[in-house]
């Protein structure tokens, strides 16, 4: 018993280390990627290719003082950044990286991840409310409407996938997509569903992930041209650092979920490539998705708040609802 407990603790520590390392080095990847797209070199002074930039940024942030603005709600103000980082780390516990690499598999893994993901937007609300700053307040108002608008289509598309798999266990969902690229939920020619609308479902889910993680072009919560920095206007030092790391950890979680639900998790795209370990395929898909996140951020300008809400209520929700009914019909037929 004590041995299994130890195993779980070690696995959780590894999950936390993975989240933190990813958060740190995605900042570097983001800055280098942005620079490449804008045709400049990017951070290249500290260490080879600027690889020492993230630890140095971290040291700088840790060395600074955490100031609490006058009249702020102190408890919430300090709790908010922790709350931003905590759900992202917790979600890693149940993500299956391969057949054997998973900290703690649960039969309600999908539910758990979405439960934690929705507490992520609570962090933004707390931060905006407790800062006693009008810009932060505006930002949290936006964060609420955005979270409400985008969690609905996201959950509907997830339900579609859960219906196809017949399980909320993440490992089971991945196992059902094994075989080849044609068994994955995104190209469901040979898989459980023969639903040819699944690529659309994938796009809806991916768009919602972008919006849920407050990434450009949906980063209205921190629209710096209107709201200074949005919810983290009043945060300095590691308070800001945690928000920043939480954002990147959420991106990793979002990409993990997209990989698991639509891209076949750790499965190889072609059967004869099955000799390569699953973790390789999982990380390959994961980082391709993350690269797409960065690519999208530096391609599209920020939308307006009306554009954002219209996209969700007028396009994503009707289409995802239609897909849900269509899939239900197909499952009944076949």
């Amino acid at each position: 018993m004590s041995l299994t407990l130890l195993n779980v603790i070690v696995a959780v520590v590894i999950a936390i280390a993975f989240a933190a390392l990813n958060a740190a080095y995605l900042v570097w990847a983001e800055r280098r990627g942005a620079a490449r797209i804008q045709r400049r070199p990017g951070p290249n002074i500290n260490g080879p290719f600027g690889l020492l930039q993230p630890p140095l940024d971290g040291i700088k942030l840790m060395a600074k003082q955490l100031t609490i603005p006058g009249g702020a709600d102190k408890v919430l103000f300090i709790a908010a950044p922790v709350l931003a980082m905590f759900p992202a780390i917790m979600s890693f516990v149940t993500i299956p990286f391969s057949e054997s690499i998973v900290a703690k598999n649960m039969n309600v893994g999908v539910l758990m991840i979405f439960a934690f993901a929705s507490t992520g937007s609570m962090a933004l609300v707390f931060a905006g409310w407790s800062s006693r700053n009008k810009y932060a307040m505006m930002s949290s108002v936006r964060a609420v409407s955005q979270a409400v608008a985008y969690e609905i289509p996201m959950l509907i598309t997830t339900i579609t996938v859960v219906m196809i798999a017949g399980s909320t266990d993440l490992m089971e969902i991945v196992r059902q997509q094994s075989g080849s690229i044609l068994h994955w939920n995104i190209f469901p020619v040979l898989g459980n569903s023969h639903n040819l609308l699944m690529p659309m479902s994938f796009l809806i889910f991916f768009t919602c992930t972008l919006a849920e993680t407050n990434r450009a072009p949906f980063d209205l919560g921190e629209a710096e041209s209107e709201l200074v920095a949005g919810f983290h206007t009043e945060y300095g030092s590691m308070g800001f650092g945690l928000f920043f790391m939480g954002e990147y950890a959420n991106i990793v979680i979002g990409s993990c979920m997209t990989t698991i639900l639509f891209l076949g998790g750790w499965n190889a795209p072609l059967p004869f490539l099955g000799f390569i370990p699953g973790i390789f395929w999982f990380l390959l898909k994961l980082y391709l998705l993350i690269a797409t996140f960065i690519w999208i951020r530096w391609t599209f300008p920020r939308t307006t708040i009306y554009g954002l809400l219209n996209l969700s209520w007028k396009i994503l929700i009707p289409l995802s609802l239609f897909n849900l009914l269509f899939t239900a019909g197909l499952i009944k037929v076949f």
Binding site: R36, Q38, R39, P41, W295, T299
Partner: protein
Amino acid sequence: MITYFTDIYHGLISLFIGMGITFKEFFSPTVTVSYPYETLTMCDRYRGHTQLIANEEGKPNCVVCGLCEKACPSNCISLAGEKPEGGKKKVLTKYILDFTRCSLCGSCVESCNFNALEFSKEYNLASTRKEDFIFDLLKRLEEKNK
């Protein structure tokens, strides 16, 4: 109803076109240089502050006619010269350019008939003191000759 779907379709296509453009840019070479470590050579028509042109012996071409001083609309230039013992031409002894007032209009360069004045390619001009922008162009020429 049809416009609803065509709008979605065209919107989606335009997003992919945009992403195609940034994808191409990603693999294009960088156009900037890391400034303090690398510098660009200034183009031919770049206007830095003026400087004197030397002849083959390293002496200024200037004959102290004073046309540049007269041409300057902001009175930035003050120069002096003297005729040496036994010499025919006047020799420049002082050429002060007050760069705090210069607007780089180029009237001085235009007015010079003896090919004695040109724009330099100097652009690293930052200082906290006003006096640093009053240039002694004769001294500058001597330093350049060393």
